[in-house]
Symmetry: C2
DNA sequence: TCCTCTATGTCAAAATCCTGACATGGAAGA
DNA sequence: TCTTCCATGTCAGGATTTTGACATAGAGGA
């Protein structure tokens, strides 16, 4: 359609909105907005949901590990964890047996809340996936991965 | 490589980090971080740079139009414009001749600053683009676009 | 053992961004 | 004409996130 890309362009592109970075930000912003709208009905923010999802997958993750996995700073993740802890969705020991890392775990309430939120988020992701030809999905995933790795992500 | 995707999975995926949304966020975060590092040397933030780039392409854009194009709220863009205005990189009339929209324009200083910053940002984008097979680049752009549109972006 | 290095958790301060709200200006329709 | 509706710019407040800094705990080497 709009791939009127000339061969060997002197510049990456003329129109800013045609840049990969712009498209990337647009897609990420759209996803973030859709997730925000859905998660609000479940009383969760996007970082909180991401945190619950990560802890469900890998129980015992520490604050710093969660921060790296969610692409935020330790300080930001700390307030997220505090909120989840106050809401009774996760537990964290006050002292650590090994090092300073405090392993976090989901509570049964946290697991329940995650179950509901996950359904809503998966519906959003399904809508997003449905927009790309199925035979290109795997390539899209690997390309996103390579781009992130190329920038030290 | 890692596309050990079974046919017709009951759930979109088991591992969170395999989800499209997670990859999208990872790539966007890596790009944002790399741009932040580069733009800091030019005394610009990412929203400020985006604003300059948009104004170079489409002079006379109003605050609200810039906000939509940069995926932020009008209020956020307003403070960005204020900063650029105080730095003497853009100009905005205090009164409007038609409606309430105040058209913004780059100053010569703004154009100069943009030139330097653009080189740094383009280098980052080139590194990112180099990571994906050239024959898949066009498809990647359209797929990102379709995903954003599917979510009302 | 002692020293250095790295990683973690945490605090304080600032910057950034968003939500809610309000007044103004133009457009569309009765 | 008048009225309703929408878009824009702006203000105030709060929420979120980041930057900078500090103390602590473990690993590795001299």
């Amino acid at each position: 359609m709009e791939d009127r890309a000339p061969v060997e362009p002197p510049h990456p592109a003329q129109d800013v909105t045609e840049h990969v970075g712009y498209r990337l930000k647009r897609s990420a912003a759209a996803l973030r907005g859709a997730m925000d709208r859905e998660l609000r009905e479940h009383g969760l923010t996007v970082p909180q949901y991401a945190c619950l999802e990560l802890l469900d997958e890998r129980p015992g993750l520490s604050n710093a590990e969660l921060a790296r996995a969610a692409f935020v700073t330790r300080q930001s993740m700390n307030v997220v964890l505090r909120g989840l802890q106050d809401a009774g969705l996760i537990t964290r020991p006050t002292t650590s047996d090994h090092g300073r890392a405090l392993p976090a775990h989901l509570t049964p309430e946290g697991r329940d809340r995650l179950d509901g939120a996950r359904r809503a988020v998966y519906a959003v992701e399904s809508r997003m996936i449905a927009a790309v030809p199925p035979e290109r999905l795997a390539a899209l995933l690997t390309d996103l991965d390579r781009m992130a790795s190329a920038l030290g992500g």
